[in-house]
């Protein structure tokens, strides 16, 4: 069965979202665009396995995500385990009191483990439901919920959103050194 014009148009239309998701995962524009390219080629090859009427974006995100993790494994890079990582200790101090700027947010996001980052992006930014996100990530809905809540808690911690301005970078260094922050 040949690829229909409609499918091609829908693929084209989903490229901006695919690139955004790829950037969120890969944190690097060249790698992200390579991921998108690979995703489009795979989607084209497997178009017959897409069921029309189902969520094309979710289907494409699944392909892209699988590609991302398989490339990481090929490069011999361990997939980050969210439980064993010290990201939260490497705090970003907001540049202005009460004003969280996008640059700070971006670098905080980069410090999340992949599984948490993808969960919070899928739910909080790409507009997927918990069920869809669970399907894309191949895990249980409860797993997505807990990743999102850990991601959110960690972002708040890194960005010191709930706290007043009492924890500066120095207080954070103190935490790294193992001294109590207060």
């Amino acid at each position: 069965m040949a690829v229909s014009q409609g499918f091609k148009t829908d693929l084209l239309g989903s490229i901006p979202s695919l690139r955004a998701f790829a950037m969120s995962l890969a944190q690097n524009a060249d790698k992200a665009d390579d991921l998108v390219q690979e995703t489009l080629v795979k989607a084209w090859d497997k178009h017959a396995s897409f069921q029309p009427g189902t969520n094309l974006k979710a289907w494409l995100f699944t392909i892209l995500r699988n590609e991302f993790y398989s490339q990481m494994r090929k490069r011999g890079r361990e997939v980050q385990d969210s439980d064993g990582i010290m990201t939260a200790r490497l705090a970003v101090h907001p540049s202005q009191h009460g004003q969280l700027d996008l640059k700070d947010f971006r670098s905080a996001l980069e410090r999340l483990p992949e599984d948490q980052r993808e969960a919070i992006i899928l739910i909080g930014a790409s507009g997927f439901s918990y069920e869809e996100a669970a399907e894309i990530c191949g895990c249980a809905v409860g797993t997505i919920k807990s990743r999102v809540s850990r991601a959110r808690a960690r972002l708040q911690e890194i960005l010191e959103i709930s706290g007043e301005d009492e924890y500066g970078p120095d207080a954070i260094s103190a935490q790294v050194m193992g001294k109590p922050a207060a």
Partner: protein
């Protein structure tokens, strides 16, 4: 009228607080997340992708036009 409806929705979300909608419009993290992502989505798409799809289409053996 529309504005009023909007305001009351926001009010409900605010009352639901953190547990109600953890990444909603009243959450700082939720807003930043959307801002971060929307910026990525609105980035100009390089031509290479349209060219890639055109090449894939050319390579189709029994390609159909509809």
């Amino acid at each position: 009228m529309k504005d009023m409806a909007k305001t009351s929705t926001a009010g409900v979300q605010r009352r639901q607080g953190i547990s109600g909608e953890p990444l909603g419009p009243n959450s700082e993290i939720g807003r930043k997340l959307k801002q971060y992502y929307d910026e990525l989505v609105s980035d100009d798409v390089p031509d290479r992708f349209a060219q890639l799809l055109a090449r894939l289409e050319q390579a189709e053996p029994g390609r159909q036009k509809d």
